[in-house]
């Protein structure tokens, strides 16, 4: 009877212990509860003390009340005589990149990308991101030096802005932007800007590269405005309170040629870290500072991985690691669909990002995106304007090179952007469409695909059959920015497990992911048989010895 009471007591005490267990969880939550005062309001960086030996505000040539961008450039060129010529050799000016291996002409001018498609016939809008002035159609003269835009990269005041519609010219007069938003953009004081130039900061590069595809973070995912004032978690190198790298710290630039390009990625850099001053074929690669064997001590086994895996695969566990997020897909086939009232409409997603616009179609966004992984050797073959497609298949906007286990290939993290685009049903190529503008053929003005494609194809000099449909497309982007601090790199088991990050990567045997089922079956059968064998043998011994004892 007493036993019963003891048991009851035991059960009761066990129940009493449970709230204690909750108390523990609750404690944990208070630890991770955020402080109400957000420290995210990163202090605005004080104006950096310049190390330059020249104070540009003292230059006579710059003490002019400049009326236009080209006027400023002319002043710049009075001292920097070769600067414009240098810029004119770069992609920032030509919007063209020639593949040294295949001779294929890529670059924004020639390809149709997976976002806004092509700048052709839309120059007035798109050229807001051209490092030049006045590229409004195919008549643009690429040899005119004063049309090089120095300020977009060298302004340190943050007041110099270029808006769509002005063919690359900055804002000269106060203007409402976006139209109907009630927000206004003030013109910059070009004299002040010209006198306050400096090395490109993250904001300079970011003014275009953070906002590609017409939205913050939309295009790259590993580049967005959060990198203007990044915390350590987001990028261990750019950490504003730490190393505070700018873009050009890695993208070392010579003769205005910025190193590091996704058109030809240095995907498999080998060898030791490079000495300062050494001419480096790929200075923007991780290895140029870290070498291809950067891990030491107990971690040195990871150095055996660098022949197969890009640094980025482990050290950028997710990209778009913020609320800005990035575009996962853009479906143009939904463009020109009107709202319930028959008028153009827009819709946002739960996080406040664009989800639908009658002008442009539907988008899907995501934050903290887990990359997809691909073998990659740095090469990309693009669909350029006029390239044939197979509408029965998903069109690869860029076909990435590389093969499993090839010496020049590594496993890379990728952003795969998916979409739907119009194509010419008879000629089987992607179409160029006239989207921006106020004229009758502009898609965003008249919501008429037929007219927009007609005008776009005419500008591109390509026959259009008059029949269009939509085809699924994919564009592959190597992820290389937003490098996390070392303790946030992927752990071994995140790949070395059956359902890990690299579950779909072919060509390598990965312990704990791969095994031979037959060998395992045979092995464990053998082990079980021998266990059973010794148990039976031992059991028999015990049984026979007991029997003998009984006989005695």
């Amino acid at each position: 009877m007493r036993l019963k009471y003891i048991l009851l007591l035991a059960a009761a005490s066990a129940l009493l212990a449970m709230p204690a267990a909750f108390a523990q969880t609750a404690k944990l939550e208070t630890i991770i509860a955020p402080p109400t005062q957000a420290a995210s309001q990163v202090a605005v960086a004080a104006k950096a003390e310049t190390a330059s030996t020249a104070d540009h505000s003292k230059f006579k040539a710059l003490q002019t009340n400049f009326k236009s961008g080209p006027q400023v450039t002319e002043a710049c060129l009075t001292c920097h005589t070769e600067a414009a010529k240098q810029v004119q050799h770069t992609k920032h000016w030509t919007w063209e990149s020639v593949d040294a291996k295949t001779g294929q002409k890529r670059g924004k001018k020639n390809i149709i990308n997976n976002y806004c498609t092509s700048p052709i016939s839309n120059e007035k809008d798109c050229m807001a991101c051209h490092a030049g002035y006045g590229w409004k159609d195919s008549s643009f003269d690429f040899a005119v030096e004063k049309n090089v835009d120095c300020l977009i990269c060298h302004d340190t005041t943050g007041t110099y802005r270029k808006l769509p519609g002005d063919a690359g010219h900055p804002v000269y007069e106060r203007v409402e932007f976006p139209k109907g938003s009630g927000k206004f953009v003030e013109p910059a004081d070009l004299k002040k800007v010209a006198q306050n130039i400096g090395l490109p900061s993250r904001s300079n590069c970011g003014s275009c590269h953070f906002f590609g595809a017409g939205g913050n973070g939309a295009k790259h995912g590993d580049l967005d405005s959060s990198l203007q004032h990044p915390g350590k978690y987001l990028d261990v190198h750019m950490d504003e309170k730490g190393l505070n790298f700018t873009c050009v710290t890695c993208h070392v630039t010579e003769k205005h040629e910025v190193s590091g390009s996704r058109y030809n990625v240095a995907a498999a850099v080998k060898g030791p870290a490079h000495l300062r001053g050494k001419t480096d074929a790929s200075p923007a690669a991780c290895q140029s500072c870290h070498s291809d064997k950067p891990h030491s001590g107990r971690m040195d086994i990871l150095n055996t991985h660098t022949a197969k895996i890009a640094c980025q695969t482990c050290h950028i566990p997710e990209y778009a690691r913020n609320e800005i997020g990035t575009e996962a897909s853009w479906d143009w086939s939904q463009a020109t669909v009107m709202g319930a009232d028959g008028k153009p409409t827009t819709r946002k997603d739960s996080a406040g990002r664009r989800a639908f616009d009658s002008k442009k179609g539907t988008w899907v966004w995501d934050s903290y995106v887990i990359p997809e992984y691909r073998w990659f050797n740095g090469d990309s073959t693009y669909k350029v304007i006029g390239d044939k497609i197979d509408p029965g298949k998903t069109v690869q906007i860029n076909e990435i090179g590389g093969a499993p286990n090839a010496a020049d290939s590594r496993i890379w993290p990728m952003k795969i952007h998916r979409g739907k685009q119009p194509y010419d049903k008879v000629n089987n190529y992607l179409t160029v469409q006239h989207t921006g503008g106020e004229d009758d053929t502009a898609l965003w003005h008249n919501y008429d695909w037929q007219k927009a494609i007609g005008a776009g194809m005419k500008a591109a000099g390509l026959p259009y059959s008059g029949e269009y449909a939509f085809v699924s497309t994919e564009m592959t982007w190597p992820v290389t920015h937003m490098v996390a601090p070392e303790h946030d790199a992927l752990s071994c088991a995140q790949c070395h497990s059956e359902n890990g990050r690299l579950q779909n990567i072919a060509g390598v045997y990965m312990p704990a992911r791969d095994r031979n089922r037959l060998l395992d079956l045979a092995g464990w059968t053998l082990v079980l048989l021998s266990l059973a064998g010794v148990l039976i043998h031992g059991g028999l011994r015990i049984y026979t010895s007991k029997k003998k004892e009984q006989l005695k």
Partner: protein, 200 residues
């Protein structure tokens, strides 16, 4: 009593045996974790322990081979077929009838003929399989530099290594069980700890 005791295993021999046992058990446990059979230490740690034990065992073997030759103990592993049939018959039948073990251990002949064969097989078949595949595994990243990357695949190496591990596990089971077949179930183990064999 003391007259019936013989000093069978010297101090180094016992040290060798038990440290080797510990290393092999650890490598079995961590090895099957690396293989993906279960999660215990976590993949990274399992690899580290496994590799650490492998190098330790190699060093231990270096010392032991030296010891075997300087003490002439290597002769213990010379195989013989004499009395093998008697041993087999003993384990198959005699052991259940309390029949006497046909083999008598002496300091000069520590291992029964079956043991000799088993240890020789372990040494000449299993250990090359495991060490060979294991070292190739370990130096995977140097294959290209050694010019052998065209002839080997990691999958094949891993397959051989895993097969070796299964064989080692089977040996381990049989070995541990056979330690209980002395005149008392713990007699052999005691001998391996103290070095002294007490005769019946």
């Amino acid at each position: 009593m003391s007259a019936n005791r013989i000093y069978l295993y010297k101090r180094y021999e016992r040290f060798w045996h038990w440290s080797q046992a510990l290393l092999i058990i650890t490598m079995l446990v961590t090895g099957f974790e690396v293989h993906g059979t279960y999660t215990l230490f976590g993949f990274g740690k399992a690899v580290y322990y496994h590799t650490f034990c492998a190098w330790t065992l190699l060093v231990l073997w270096a010392f032991t081979i030296f010891w075997q030759f300087t003490t002439d103990e290597w002769k213990q592993y010379i195989p013989t077929l004499k009395k093998v049939d008697a041993m087999v018959r003993y384990y198959a039948f005699g052991i259940f009838r309390n029949a006497p073990n046909p083999f008598h251990k002496t300091a000069e002949k520590k291992h029964n003929p079956l043991q000799r064969l088993a240890y020789l097989a372990l040494l000449s078949i299993l250990s090359p399989v495991i060490w060979g595949s294991g070292l190739f595994y370990l130096f995977y990243s140097s294959w290209a530099a050694l010019g052998i990357d065209g002839y080997l695949s990691l999958e094949a190496v891993a397959l051989v290594h895993t097969a070796g591990a299964f064989m080692m596990l089977v040996f381990f089971i049989a070995h541990v069980y056979l330690t209980t077949t002395g005149h008392t179930p713990t007699a052999h183990i005691k001998t391996m700890i103290t070095g002294w064999e007490e005769e019946e």
